[in-house]
């Protein structure tokens, strides 16, 4: 496939048998993964290898084995690529004596931009993260949420094609989290690619359906969370049905071979089926006919990231 990296044709990150170890400790173990353009969530518990992967993607670490290309080029010792990449690291570290504006401007200048333009770009970035009012305050006086936002500002100030955000919501209050998640989604809609890491499942789920699951240095799964769920066909699909006559429904369900088990939870029945398509089709017919009473709610507790992750980790 040809085309500019970051377009629909080319992956933004391509890792090929990528491994990284620190002495005896394996940080990343034979990872081969392709990240498409758009927003990708990197998900895993603490110590899974997320930060190691992020550092390899941002060229801070050299692969012990294998290769990694970002936007079509190898990243290690390729500083030119950073004109197109913006990185928001996890650590809470700044030049505390500088103001937010001074700091972001100084970093933008390192992109080869002259002073006036750098200051303008810094202001725009601070405005985007709603920090313009505090731009002339010293970073040492910022709150945790403000510090996180000024970090994001320096990552996006130079208008990068790819944003890499390592735990961007850490330390933020709920309102700030919502705003940041909205911002990330906007960036994705505007044509930027975003790789965002977190160990909090519902945060990633609210940003994107495209995920990369990692645990103990290995990739568990990559792709759309719904597709991943569908592919786990050995694991029965749970369906939660709240209805007026749950026992009647249960008698009806037990007559079919695809229903593996069911249990009652208050006014609902939770069914485990090995053939979700066939089951949903029958359920739709039952709900339309109303012969077994009204069906008020149908959800699948499995069709979310938590269930997918927990299942994959256990297996």
């Amino acid at each position: 496939m040809t085309g500019e990296p970051g377009t629909r044709a080319e992956p933004i990150v391509l890792a090929d048998h990528l491994s990284k170890w620190y002495g005896q400790v394996i940080g990343l173990n034979d990872v081969s993964v392709t990240l498409p353009p758009g927003i990708t969530g990197l998900l895993g518990p603490n110590g899974a290898g997320k930060s190691t992967f992020m550092k390899l993607v941002t060229g801070q670490l050299k692969p012990s084995k294998g290769s990694i290309t970002v936007l079509g080029e190898p990243i290690w010792r390729n500083p030119g690529l950073y004109t197109r990449i913006g990185f928001c690291p996890e650590q809470d570290a700044f030049y505390e004596r500088m103001t937010g504006l001074e700091w972001v401007t100084a970093l933008v200048r390192l992109n080869g931009v002259d002073d006036t333009e750098a200051a303008a770009m810094a202001r725009r970035a601070l405005e985007t993260v709603e920090l313009l009012d505090a731009a002339n305050k010293k970073i040492g006086a910022y709150s945790k949420g403000m510090r996180q936002r000024v970090k994001m500002a320096q990552a996006l100030a130079h208008d990068p094609q790819l944003l890499i955000l390592d735990e961007p919501l850490s330390g933020m209050d709920p309102l700030a989290r919502r705003k940041t998640i909205r911002l990330i989604k906007e960036w994705g809609r505007a044509g930027r690619s975003v790789l965002v890491s977190s160990h909090i499942l519902h945060e990633i789920e609210s940003m994107t359906a495209n995920i990369l699951l990692i645990n103990q240095g290995r990739i568990l799964a990559e792709g759309n969370v719904h597709q991943i769920r569908d592919l786990i066909d050995k694991h029965p699909h749970s369906v939660y049905i709240k209805a007026d006559h749950t026992r009647a429904l249960a008698r009806e369900f037990l007559g079919h071979d695809d229903v593996l088990s069911l249990k009652f939870e208050g006014e609902a029945v939770v069914v485990q089926t090995g053939q979700p398509d066939a089951f949903y089709s029958r359920l739709t017919d039952l709900a339309a006919s109303g012969e077994l009473g009204a069906i008020h709610e149908v959800t699948s507790p499995d069709d979310n990231l938590q269930a997918v992750f927990q299942y994959l980790v256990k297996s």
Binding site: T58, P79, G112, G191
Partner: protein, 281 residues
């Protein structure tokens, strides 16, 4: 939200280094550490004040190496004992070994290494900032000492002024040389401070005593050749040094120091380019 920008040309090593210099100079100059080191450099000034007061009270003046000493001799002795043998190596060890290490400890190195600038530009920019910072700390101290001490015994400041300029240039070269050597130590070795102290206060004084080529593996051998003042005989070691001292010519010393600065900085730059910096979690 604007569309992604087209690629900008990345700045050259020189431009990048200058921008890092801009960023680092203020940090270095106004940090608490530099303020404290600046106060330390006030020690020679206080000493000069005390000596000036004493010389005013006691008309007999001072004696150096058994002979009546005029102000310029006392100034030269202070340049040797305080600046050449102590202040310049200490500043070189302290700042040189921490050029990159401070950024790593503070975890701010990530911001510099994820910019479209060569990593060695970060080192060069910080080295320049170190040089300017230390010269700005040492210069006033030396000048104060000069103006306080040289007039002792009736010597004229005007006659000795060209020598002051030569001393300032020599100290700046010394700061550059030690800074470059310890920048290399800082980027290549663990525990660079201890190794730096061993080099500056163990290896160099010891090796200078021995005849042969070993002394050419020091900065002090070439730097001390640029000092116009007579070496003081304050200890048995100094007297021994005086006996065995071989002094290269000034052009040879300057060329050798330039080579030392160039080679060590280049090697340090290579180390920074190739090394991975793993931050403490």
């Amino acid at each position: 939200m604007s569309a992604p920008a087209t690629r900008r040309a990345t700045p050259s090593v020189f431009t990048s280094a200058l921008r890092i210099f801009d960023l680092s100079l203020g940090q270095m100059l106004w940090s608490r550490r530099s303020v404290f080191l600046g106060l330390l450099l006030g020690g020679p000034v206080l000493l000069a004040i005390a000596l000036r007061v004493v010389s005013a009270l006691y008309a007999s003046g001072f004696r150096i190496n058994g002979a009546q000493a005029a102000g310029p001799s006392v100034f030269g002795m202070m340049i040797w004992l305080l600046y050449i043998r102590f202040i310049v190596p200490v500043l070189g060890v302290f700042y040189g070994t921490s050029l990159i290490a401070d950024e790593v400890d503070d975890k701010t190195i990530t911001y510099l290494f994820t910019r479209p600038i060569p990593r060695r530009a970060v080192l060069f920019g910080k080295f320049l900032a170190y040089l300017v910072c230390t010269v700005l700390l040492v210069l006033p101290s030396v000048m104060f000492v000069f103006f306080l001490i040289v007039p002792i015994g009736g010597s004229g400041i005007g006659e000795a002024f060209p020598a002051l300029l030569a001393d300032l240039a020599m100290l700046a070269i010394g700061l550059a040389a030690y800074g470059a050597v310890f920048a290399l130590v800082g980027t290549r070795l663990k525990r660079p401070l201890i190794i730096g102290l061993v080099f500056a206060f163990g290896w160099e004084p010891a090796v200078l005593l021995f005849p042969g080529y070993l002394k050419r593996m020091t900065v002090a051998y070439y730097l001390q050749a640029l000092v116009r003042h007579e070496m003081p005989q304050d200890s048995a070691v100094s007297m021994l040094l005086q006996v065995f001292r071989e002094v290269p010519s000034i052009p040879v010393s300057l060329a050798s120091l330039a080579v030392i600065i160039g080679v060590t900085l280049w090697l340090a730059g290579q180390a920074v380019e190739q090394r991975e910096f793993v931050l403490d979690q």
